[in-house]
């Protein structure tokens, strides 16, 4: 067995077969081709522009635009500059994107959880929604909402009137315009501070409890008093609402007052939960009565009151059994105290400073509404379409995120003795969020990009104002398209930077 020993020397290959040199040659060739292609394009463009007597440059941004925009967040008129038009478009895009993201997230999470519900009917409804909405183009949905629904609304004189002086007609939705005076500013500041304070209080109380096993004495005592006050307030509301369903019970302001006092008294006794159940029943009855009355206007009043009572009984039953199940364990920090802080402090400031928040109610005049705030139908349609469409995708992300948490985690949590709610809150959701958030951010990005479809229904967002009107008027195709694409590119790169950061932060540390 002789071993060949003459292979020690370097292999003799031609230099063009050396992989390193080959790689360099390939790259040079590709780079050369790309550069040649770009040069060709640039030369052609220069020739074409010269033939059309067009100049290039960004000077046009500082010229007067000479057009108006139907919906602007900042002042804009025909004498404004093109860069202001750009800002208007960008702000409108961001406005729709932010509103859409908020609504789509809420709807999407509800639908995603509903798809996994053990309730067959709820799961089926959510599945149908997702499958129908996902498979129809967004542009078609926007056309539907804009041309077939909102444009088909009645004329101004026959507007639909919704509660709270909201009117719906061909020209959009008209809502009361809030007219804040200066003192409202302080109320708003107090509201924010109160919210921060309430959260801080809850965090602190929970920490103390984790350490010592008890909530701080101050907090428990304050909670009890707050519970009393909130029960009184909600009880008053509930009994007053009950008066709207059963007219016999509306005996003037004294009756709800006495009833609320009784309810507050009950809440101190061991039968407190029956008081809460009663309140739930009363409010549920009133709300269901109102909703059913609106939905089935054709049916008789008696049937609706009866149906609403059935729904309210369902609510009461749910509350009773939920109460019974959690009765055995030590309660969490009651919600009453933080709620009271968030509501009462601003109310106090409101009352002390004498601030007034008036609303300008829209009034139907001869041809149009005077006063009020008009939400243009283009915007309503765009927000509606984007929300409904994106929610279907978010729902799928949420569903797969929750399903990605293995069953063993839930079982482990059960074996530690955690109850259903805590299992979800402490074990399943934090792990699901890690899976949900990356696709969720890309859905947000998609929504922002899709808001450009507003151009097709005349909502003045970036593509419409800048790539549409401005491009047509100035003819600066290259500059305008470059700027617009750059905006979206920036948004996208920022989002993916965030995503990378988040992924790195939450990535499982593996052995």
């Amino acid at each position: 067995m002789a071993v060949q020993d003459n292979i020690a020397g370097p292999p003799r290959t031609a230099f063009y077969n050396d992989p390193v040199i080959r790689g360099i040659i390939y790259q040079l060739v590709v780079a050369g081709l790309v550069i040649a292609f770009l040069t060709w394009i640039i030369l052609n463009t220069a020739q074409n522009l010269a033939a059309q007597n067009k100049s290039t440059g960004f000077g046009f941004l500082f010229e007067t635009s000479g057009f108006g925009i139907s919906f602007t967040l900042i002042p804009f008129d025909r004498s404004s500059y093109y860069w202001q038009a750009f800002v208007v478009g960008l702000l409108n895009t961001l406005l729709v994107a932010v509103i859409g993201i908020i609504f789509a997230t809420m709807l999407g999470f509800v639908l995603g959880v509903a798809r996994l519900s053990s309730n067959w009917l709820i799961a089926r409804c959510a599945t149908v929604y997702v499958e129908v909405i996902r498979n129809i183009p967004l542009l078609l949905q926007l056309f539907f909402w804009y041309f077939a629904v909102l444009k088909a609304m009645p004329a101004v004189r026959e507007s639909f009137e919704l509660p709270l002086s909201i009117f719906v007609n061909q020209r959009g939705i008209i809502v009361p315009r809030p007219l804040p005076d200066f003192e409202i500013f302080w109320v708003a500041v107090t509201a924010v501070l109160a919210l921060v304070a309430a959260i801080a209080m809850v965090v602190w109380a929970t920490r103390v409890r984790t350490k010592t096993g008890h909530y701080p004495a101050v907090v428990s005592r304050a909670s009890r008093i707050a519970g009393l006050i909130v029960t009184f307030g909600v009880g008053y509301l509930a009994i007053s609402l009950l008066g709207t369903v059963v007219p016999a019970l509306s005996l003037g302001p004294v009756f709800p007052l006495i009833g609320a006092l009784v309810l507050a008294g009950i809440s101190l006794s061991p039968y407190g939960r029956y008081g809460r159940v009663f309140i739930g029943f009363a409010i549920g009855w009133a709300v269901a009565n109102f909703l059913l009355g609106g939905m089935f206007a054709g049916l008789g009043e008696g049937i609706i009151v009866l149906g609403a009572a059935l729904v309210a009984l369902g609510i009461a039953w749910t509350m009773l059994s939920a109460d019974r199940r959690s009765a055995a364990t030590e309660g969490k920090l009651p919600l009453a105290l933080p709620v009271l802080i968030v509501i009462a402090l601003p109310a106090l400031v409101y009352w002390v400073t004498g601030a007034s928040l008036a609303f300008e109610i829209p009034v139907l005049e001869r041809f149009n509404f005077a006063g009020g705030l008009q939400l243009v139908p283009e915007m309503v349609a765009l927000v509606l379409g984007l929300t409904i469409y994106t929610a279907a995708f978010i729902a799928e992300n949420v569903r797969s995120g929750i399903q990605a948490v293995s069953k063993g985690q839930t079982e482990a949590a059960s074996s530690l003795g955690l109850r259903e709610g805590d299992r979800l809150r402490l074990v399943v959701v934090p792990q699901a969020m890690r899976v949900i958030i990356p696709p969720l951010t890309s859905q947000y990005l998609n929504l922002t990009k899709n808001s450009s479809l507003g151009a097709a229904i005349g909502y003045p967002e970036l593509v419409n104002v800048f790539m549409g009107t401005t491009l047509n008027q100035t003819g600066k195709a290259i500059e305008v398209i470059a700027i617009t694409m750059l905006v979206y590119l920036t948004l996208s790169l920022t989002t993916s930077a965030f995503m990378n950061w988040y992924n790195a932060r939450v990535a499982l540390v593996e052995r």
């Binding site: 394009i41 009917l121 899709n450 450009s452 290259i478």
Partner: protein, 378 residues
């Protein structure tokens, strides 16, 4: 002797179990398991009772208990105050929705295109049918060329039909098919480039992919329709449909590149190393070892991006091409059929067409995914 830990009385008999089969037990388990479940069920039923009858009445013709005007009805029936969807209008304008302005005496040409496409795509989609390679070459290479000459005419004595006259579902299908067929090879090259170790090629590919993925399709289409003529040498005119096709292809190739990259990354390193150890060159190892496996894995992903592309083709209506959505939109201002429900019926029809295509494809993609999931992932 008695042990304190041994019971002295019998355990109380447990109540008989409630029946666990039959519709009532099913309802108890799935609809009324807990009080909150019951509440949700009641609310959902209320909502359905509220929403379904009006929708049913609107969509269904009168012999099924609705108010819609069935195909063959007259415009006067549609103009009645209480009339539902005007299906008569859809059936009357159906040829416009399918062929656009294509001359009526030449309808056999688009029909032949549809038939050929169906004949080629069905065996391609069924995994059991043999001759996949021939079939794929026929569909991806021969079919588009045949379609172009068939539709455009000017050869074999067929009169020429300019692309401005193409329209409707025909154009929607053309754009999405051409988009996907052209973007598969570009997407594969981009994905390979992105995985490459050569820095210049890698950077160029990443820049290309990220640029098109970052911007909305509508800006790409605007760019293609405004800037493409500027980029070409003086005197060349670029067909409007071709501009849209270029835009759609650029856009979808970037997305497809990411899909293919997923497949490339899912392959275990051993496959790459095995290919190298056999002494195969880069292209040979890609062609014989890596791509066949990677592409098989990403078939569901490719179908999904085809669904997205199919829905996105509706955007070409913004740059003035008469795809399905644009023909529906244009027909909705047809005075001969003007009625209160004209627009909404058109959108319902277009929505149903899109839905049927997309839903079928998504089911196919899910089915393929299950089939390909043989349990041994990288």
């Amino acid at each position: 002797m008695s042990f304190s830990f041994v019971r002295e009385q019998m355990v109380e008999p447990a109540p008989a179990p409630v029946n666990t089969a039959g519709p009532i037990a099913w309802a108890r388990r799935n609809l009324f398991a807990t009080p909150s479940d019951s509440l949700l069920t009641i609310l959902a039923i209320v909502l359905l009772v509220w929403a379904i009858p009006p929708i049913y009445g609107f969509v269904m013709p009168n012999f099924l208990g609705g108010d819609a005007v069935p195909p063959g009805g007259t415009v006067e029936q549609c103009r009645v105050e209480t009339a539902g969807a005007c299906w008569a209008y859809i059936s009357a304008r159906m040829t416009f929705f399918i062929y656009g302005f294509y001359p009526a005496e030449e309808y056999w040409r688009p029909n032949l295109v549809f038939a050929l496409g169906t004949l080629l795509i069905i065996p391609l989609a069924i995994p059991r049918v043999p001759f996949k390679r021939t079939n794929a070459i026929l569909f991806f290479v021969v079919y588009p060329v045949v379609c172009f000459y068939l539709l455009n005419g000017g050869v074999l004595g067929m009169p020429s039909v300019p692309t401005e006259q193409w329209g409707g579902l025909l154009v929607t299908l053309i754009i999405s098919l051409v988009g996907i067929i052209c973007s598969i090879p570009i997407g594969i090259l981009l994905a390979l480039g992105r995985q490459s170790k050569l820095p210049i090629i890698k950077t160029l590919c990443i820049m290309f992919i990220e640029l098109w993925r970052a911007v909305p399709l509508i800006t790409v289409l605007f760019m293609a329709s405004v800037m493409l003529p500027l980029f070409m040498p003086q005197g060349t005119t670029v067909d409007k449909l071709l501009r849209a096709l270029v835009g759609v292809t650029l856009f979808s190739s970037a997305y497809l590149a990411e899909v293919v990259r997923g497949g490339l990354q899912a392959l275990p390193r051993g496959q790459y190393e095995a290919a190298s150890s056999l002494g195969l060159s880069y292209w040979k190892s890609m062609w014989f070892i890596i791509l066949p496996q990677a592409l098989k894995h990403v078939i569901p992903g490719i179908v999904n991006s085809f669904i997205a592309l199919f829905k996105d083709t509706s955007l070409v209506s913004i740059v003035g091409i008469f795809d399905l959505l644009n023909t529906v939109q244009a027909a909705s201002s047809d005075i001969d059929w003007s009625s209160p429900t004209q627009a909404i019926t058109g959108y319902l029809f277009a929505g149903m067409v899109f839905w049927v295509f997309c839903f079928a494809m998504s089911r196919y993609s899910i089915w393929m995914e299950r089939r390909l999931d043989t349990g041994h992932k990288g």
